[in-house]
Symmetry: C2
Subunit: 468 residues, 2 copies
């Protein structure tokens, strides 16, 4: 049953509901706060005495007094002399009402690159690992941990990177972070503190990279990528002393950096005392042979290698690592501390358990065959329906590049596909304004099942025929 009171003006309606789980005191406080906030009670306005309001509302006088005192402490009301209580403050502009969030439209079939198969997330294994980690966490584990990351996870990741990526990694060479975006931000901040001013980035390359570089107070310099990967001769001509590369599977072309280019890049780093920042993002998934080892293994003094579980598990986990030369580690850990005081400890311990127990490797093994099969479906569907599309970059990961031909209308195709609820990303998203190259589509196939891939390619083939 609700009691209402509107003793001052019709605008000021205080409503108490005895059926509500909220206490009457809390209801009264909130009703008064809202009246003040919305300007229905103005500064200086006098409230009824506690006795009067208590009688009107049928509540105890103590409850009204306690409410007035609370709102006085908070600055809404002010007591004058003995009994007069007045509104102390009301905002000059009434605050806009609370808004409803707007939903985002989604494509039925989305070839967005960089998204792993989210339906294959190992829910049971992850829950098992969370359980183990949480149940055995010490009080110290629950506090502000080492901003560099849980020592347990760092040991496990170091062993993993040695074993799987041919990296040269000890626990002290790693900083745990939330993924590539944070890892690169921390690394660039650390390098900037050492005097770095400009950083070379791949063209075409990761679409946010130049923004991330600028945001770190540095100047991005675009260096072209060809069918062997980054053109190191062009890098040499720049003044950059650091470069961000994707050697195992270039974003977005999918090229694997050739042995000659790897050597040239490392020689450049030694000569310039430069830094190669390796975005080691999906190298776990290579199909025709063993994944190419991390550049870092060959030149640990000059390479920063950034990895994460965003592709191997799920982006939602938000865990990754920066493997850096000894001189940079402390600075990167300090940047991590200043930016968020370390990643969540229980998640870190859970990931450590997942890897230690062999469940992570088992998941990777399973996913390699899932992605391998999808890759096969993509190749076959394109071969059947759109044989003119030249697919490259299929050695690893779960995206590939399809060139459309010199005169094709990349943006037109993307817009037409979107009309049919098929999401595509064009190469144009990944290139600098100066990039010279033919239009292309970057096909991500990680999060699409065989049927979706086939239907998507059929639709695109249809559109290509119409446009031709």
């Amino acid at each position: 049953m609700a009691v209402e009171w509107s003793g001052l003006t019709p605008d000021v309606l205080l409503r108490l509901d005895r059926q509500s789980p909220e206490t009457l005191g809390s209801q009264l406080q909130n009703a008064l706060r809202t009246a003040v906030r919305e300007g229905r009670l103005q500064t200086g306005e006098r409230l009824p005495s506690s006795r009067k309001l208590a009688t009107d509302l049928g509540v105890s006088r103590g409850l009204v007094q306690a409410t007035y005192e609370q709102l006085e402490a908070e600055g809404y009301l002010r007591a004058f002399g003995g009994s007069a209580t007045r509104v102390a403050f009301s905002p000059q502009s009434a605050v806009t009402t609370l808004s409803k969030p707007t939903p985002v439209a989604r494509m039925e079939i989305d070839f967005i690159p960089g998204r792993p198969d989210l339906n294959s997330f190992p829910t049971r294994d992850w829950l098992w690992a969370c359980g183990e980690a949480t149940r055995t966490a010490s009080a110290t584990d629950l506090g502000y941990g080492d901003p560099q990351g849980s020592i347990r996870l760092r040991c496990v990741v170091a062993a993993y990177l040695q074993r799987v990526r041919g990296a040269f990694a000890g626990a002290d060479d790693l900083v745990i972070c939330s993924g590539f975006t944070q890892g690169i931000a921390l690394t660039l901040a650390a390098l900037r503190a050492e005097g770095l001013t400009s950083v070379a980035v791949e063209d075409p390359g990761h679409q946010d990279m130049h923004t991330l570089v600028r945001r770190a107070g540095l100047t991005p310099v675009f260096v072209p990528v060809d069918d062997q990967g980054l053109v190191v001769d062009e890098l040499v001509r720049t003044k950059a002393t650091a470069v961000i590369v994707t050697p195992a599977h270039q974003t977005p072309t999918g090229v694997v950096l050739s042995p000659e280019r790897r050597l040239a890049l490392l020689r450049w780093a030694e000569r310039m005392n430069g830094v190669v920042i390796e975005d080691d993002y999906d190298s776990e998934f290579r199909y025709d042979k063993q994944a190419v080892g991390s550049l870092q293994g060959l030149a640990a003094d000059h390479v920063v290698s950034i990895g994460s579980v965003s592709k191997s598990l799920a982006p939602a986990i938000r865990l990754g690592w920066v493997l850096a030369p000894r001189r940079l580690v402390a600075r990167i850990a300090e940047e991590k501390n200043r930016s968020d005081r370390g990643s969540p400890a229980l998640d870190q311990l859970a990931l450590a358990r997942l890897i230690e127990s062999g469940r992570f490797d088992r998941h990777l093994h399973r996913m390699r065959s899932v992605y391998g099969a999808r890759r096969g479906v993509l190749v076959e569907a394109i071969g059947e329906h759109a044989p003119n599309l030249e697919l490259t970059g299929l050695a690893a990961g779960f995206h590939a590049l399809a060139r459309l031909g010199e005169t094709a209308d990349e943006a037109g195709l993307i817009a037409a596909a979107a009309q049919r609820s098929v999401g595509l990303q064009g190469l144009g998203r990944y290139t600098s304004p100066n990039y010279q190259g033919s239009p292309a589509i970057v096909f991500g196939f990680g999060d699409l099942n065989a049927d979706a891939i086939k239907r998507g390619i059929t639709t695109i083939a249809d559109l290509l025929r119409q446009h031709a």
Copy 2:
């Protein structure tokens, strides 16, 4: 059984162990990588033919060939003509060996402020919430989520802040972050983008605050705190148009901002079109009466309120929120996106469940009585053993201030206590160089049981007698 080979020089020893779970191919690769990395195989050095090495090691020739090919792809080796394989690259300086992490010394009894009772972490409830969240997470939940934060958690936190903190909050007014440190960094970055140049901070105040402000490219301005909280008259004299305050329980003095000062602060904000940034860090725990509501509730257009579960649950969870005026929210969310692409989704969903289910409130209720009891023990122990210490700031939270007297040697006491494995923090850590005030100790009692508090205070009383 291990097979060894040292055909080139005594330095280059390749060791294969057939008992190891690691494949022979992987062992051979790693042994060669290490030999190159450590300079035992130098650039240009010729390796034995695959046939020869295979015979020497007792493995198949194909295994050696595959190893050579892999290391060629990675840049360690290079094939010349038909059979000759040589070392392609060796680092100019041998990389230092992997180091062991160093353990941190801990105090037996540590009165460090800001640490909640970590032994009371609701492990079962948290695991329940993680289970619910993970099992019901959709594929979309597992992807890169909304950088502003999970809509579900934002709805739940908005309702919580309205109910418990008297805040004026909708889901769209919130950005989920990892805690205060990240929240303030994001907020300051957003304000700086709007043209802010200097920010007032409390003196004494949060020890990292001026560093966080400087790191955001802004100038900190110290404003004194007295026994009513921030001296707003002094704030008015500065040129700052933003101020960071701890109104519910000042860090480190524990003062609750008085009603007059609250009003003066909000009037300043309206007059200057300024921003009050409220660090709402431990207000859930108030003992003598209901917690003082958030400043934000009274002036949502001028107040940014930052909170977290670091004190209410545990720092290790790394979840918090920024409640901001509408015009700032999008910018803060964009900063969050650029810095780490959003907080971990499963943790966010777990926290939402924990709050929705009432388990969070139940935990807070329980902790309020735990902390209340500890507060009583501290007051009693000081009354009994060190009655000259004047304790203030006990209305809320789990730290209080004890003034030592004008001539006391704060640093000396802290050092002597550390010798006896009692950790203390002095007021000196929290003050600007210009601060005028008597020496004091900031006693945190959140993570100490009754026995530890008593023993710690007895030790300190002992030291105070010796120093007197």
